[in-house]
């Protein structure tokens, strides 16, 4: 078992502090949902953990199995097993999904080691079938001209291929219709297992009826103000965030 420990994390962009002291431990095999209204620092936290250069960690630490990863570049963190499923994935014109993933897998191999092309394609097609993605998809340039649903499925496909230890899924449900949501959720559920820990960022309870979390955390104004099990998500759905905000303000 591995663990991703977020300790008293403070994150700023520009001069503004967005994340104000988050502490959270995710073990492989667990799914943690982080819920909260817009602009409370959920995405900022995920990007900072992944090493985005615009998000500065001013205090606290992030550790994998007890070792801090903050000195590492974002690509090193990725190779250590951190995967960020982007809310708005970038387009890479002219680079096919197949070539992109191949380069990403090659980057994880030791120097002098070469990827086995036929085994690679076999595995790629397997994962695509699982995610109900058309084979023609692999020849298309990464995210270029993709619909919202295609972008999210491509993120899940990449996650399936790269086999991270910890996946930070940033609003994976946004922009999906109900059919796409089901396909994406089925995909995530199929990857669920003892070797993967997931941090699921979402506004809505809706996603959580497809991907059932082990833990639910509510984030407001850069802090986790309430944690519980999956029933907390249902309570939020019924009562809204204001209830938590009041409780937090009165605390």
């Amino acid at each position: 078992m591995s663990s991703l420990e977020i300790k008293n994390l403070h994150v700023s962009t520009g001069d503004k502090e967005i994340v104000k002291g988050v502490t959270l431990t995710i073990n492989t095999g667990e799914i943690h949902a982080v819920m909260g209204p817009n602009g409370t620092g959920k995405s900022t936290m995920a990007k900072a953990i992944a090493g985005h250069p615009d998000y500065i960690i001013t205090e606290g630490d992030v550790l994998i199995d007890g070792k801090s990863i903050l000195e590492k570049e974002s690509d090193e963190r990725a190779r250590e097993g951190i995967f960020l499923a982007f809310q708005y994935p970038s387009e890479i014109p002219g680079v096919s999904i197949a070539n992109f993933l191949r380069a990403a897998i090659q980057a994880r191999m030791a120097e002098g080691e070469e990827i086995d092309a036929s085994a690679y394609y076999k595995r790629l097609y397997q994962k695509m079938d699982l995610l109900k993605i058309d084979r023609k998809f692999t020849a298309r340039a990464v995210n270029e001209g993709f619909s919202g649903g295609e972008k999210k499925r491509s993120e899940i496909l990449q996650m399936a291929m790269l086999e991270p230890r910890f996946a930070l899924m940033d609003e994976t449900d946004s922009g999906l219709d109900i059919d796409a949501l089901r396909i994406v959720s089925d995909g995530v559920n199929s990857l669920r297992g003892p070797n993967l820990g997931i941090l699921l960022i979402t506004h809505y309870q809706r996603l959580l009826s497809y991907i059932v979390p082990d833990h639910v955390h509510v984030m407001i104004d850069g802090r986790i103000v309430k944690s519980g099990d999956k029933s907390l998500a249902l309570e939020l759905e019924a009562r809204g965030y204001d209830w938590v905000k009041h409780e937090f303000a009165n605390a």
Partner: protein, 478 residues
């Protein structure tokens, strides 16, 4: 007889440091049996003509060209002030170990053979080429054509030999597509040219595998002036490829070639260049083809490296329904200026031309597209399509586009598109988040940008191009 020196002078006098030029950056200390000395005057030209035992007409042609060269100004008024730093008195114009190339690699002097082996030339020859010419400084050290191809009547040799063995064909076409006075550097080449390929493909012969020339500069303070002349007779087809490298010196090296192509009725010529000059090379090349009726000339031009490249491959569309195409890829790294483009001169009805240019500017690198499309009033049914795309890697990178399109008359179709894009920080972060290093991410973006063009290359060359780009991009980040 000599020792290999891997030159490691990257940061001494050169603004470009950290770029991995390991492929071509090595040299052997040679002794040259034939050396025209430093500087240029009538005696230099006499010397070159004499060692080649040339006919009087070509000797006169050279002397006349020298006068034209001296009289013409540098084209600094429209290109780059950097040209003014070229000192013609400090260049050596002819260096060789003899004028007759070897037919087998075993006969090639050991150091020269090792040079080309390091550059992978004999290996490529075995794998996929119909013939190879390997020029080392001023003359070809090796030249061979597969027997099956020469039996079809195809002539492939260097210009020195061709002048002796096939003067009648040579003289008929030589200097006709690019006159001596075309520009200062075509005049310079005409005065001191040495080496380069001469190819003649007889009517109807389709050469199944590419012919290749490799131009290697080994000496310091040297100018390489190869002259290439390719004639494809009626209905014939040819693919020709050239590669170029030089070691990195702290002083300027000059490469100034002239390449003339003639495609007679219905012939097809594809001319591919992948150059990887070191960052001290001034690469000032004139390339033009003449396409007769229903003939097709396609230039595929990849410019990587050099300090300043000025090169605008052109096609004169002389016969009805002739087609011309230029596909060009330029990568300008720190301290480099790629001033490239295309010229399409329509001179007959229903002629078609296409220009696709993609440039990448890295760091303070500068890429310039300069194009001419000319369609006169009396013609009808001519078409041109020009597309220029520029990719900027850093915020201080620079790109300029100067398209000059002159279309007279109303019976033509002309299209021009241009775009400039930048690799965004978000794009790089996205790729790094998948485990690619910053350099790998940059390289993948650049390869994606040129992907649709690179796909048109023969496989071996698109692999080589990708490798060169990877090397450049690896060295360009932090």
């Amino acid at each position: 007889m000599s020792e290999i020196t891997d030159t490691l002078q990257t940061s001494v006098d050169n603004p470009v440091s950290g770029i991995d030029q390991s492929n071509g950056n090595f040299k052997y200390d040679m002794t040259y049996d034939f050396d025209a000395g430093t500087g240029l005057n009538e005696r230099t030209v006499d010397y070159i003509s004499a060692v080649k035992k040339e006919a009087p007409w070509i000797h006169e042609f050279r002397q006349k060209a020298l006068k034209t060269f001296l009289a013409k100004p540098l084209p600094t008024h429209w290109a780059s002030k950097d040209l003014e730093t070229l000192n013609f008195d400090k260049i050596r114009y002819y260096l060789s170990q003899g004028q007759k190339p070897k037919r087998t690699w075993d006969e090639v002097p050991a150091d020269i053979k090792r040079t080309f082996e390091r550059l992978g030339v004999p290996e490529q020859e075995r794998k996929f080429l119909a013939g190879v010419e390997a020029q080392f400084d001023s003359e070809a050290a090796y030249s061979n054509i597969k027997e099956a191809v020469s039996k079809q009547g195809v002539i492939f040799m260097n210009s020195t030999e061709a002048l002796r063995e096939h003067p009648e064909i040579f003289r008929k076409f030589f200097g006709k597509v690019i006159p001596t006075s075309d520009n200062k550097f075509s005049a310079l080449n005409s005065a001191v040219f040495s080496g380069g390929s001469f190819i003649y493909v007889p009517p109807g012969v389709k050469v199944s595998h590419p012919l290749q020339a490799y131009f290697r500069i080994n000496a310091e303070n040297f100018g390489q002036f190869e002259r290439t002349l390719i004639i494809c007779d009626e209905g014939s087809e040819l693919t020709y490829m050239e590669g170029c490298t030089a070691p990195k010196f702290s002083t300027a090296t000059l490469h100034s070639a002239v390449v003339e192509l003639v495609a007679l009725k219905g012939a097809k010529i594809q001319y591919i260049t992948v150059q990887n000059w070191s960052s001290n090379v001034f690469n000032l090349v004139t390339k033009r083809g003449l396409a007769h009726e229903e003939a097709e000339i396609k230039w595929i031009d990849c410019n990587i490296g050099s300090r300043l490249t000025m090169k605008y491959p052109g096609v004169v569309l002389k016969g009805r329904k002739a087609r011309g195409e230029v596909i060009s890829i330029a990568l300008a790294n720190d301290g480099q200026h790629q001033d490239t483009g295309a010229k399409m001169i329509h001179a007959a009805d229903e002629t078609t031309s296409t220009v696709v240019s993609k440039s990448i500017s890295v760091g303070q690198g500068r890429a310039t597209y300069r194009g001419v499309v000319h369609i006169p009033r009396h013609l009808k049914g001519c078409k041109n399509n020009t597309e220029c795309d520029a990719l900027l890697i850093n915020t201080n990178s620079r790109t300029d586009t100067y398209p000059a399109i002159t279309v007279r008359g109303d019976r033509h179709a002309v299209q021009h598109e241009a775009s400039v894009s930048k690799v965004s920080a978000e794009q790089i972060f996205y790729m790094q988040q998948r485990g690619l290093t910053e350099g790998q991410a940059m390289s993948l973006s650049v390869n994606g940008f040129i992907n649709d063009l690179a796909r048109q290359f023969p496989m071996e060359y698109s692999v080589e191009l990708k490798r060169l780009i990877d090397l450049e991009m690896e060295g360009s980040v932090g």
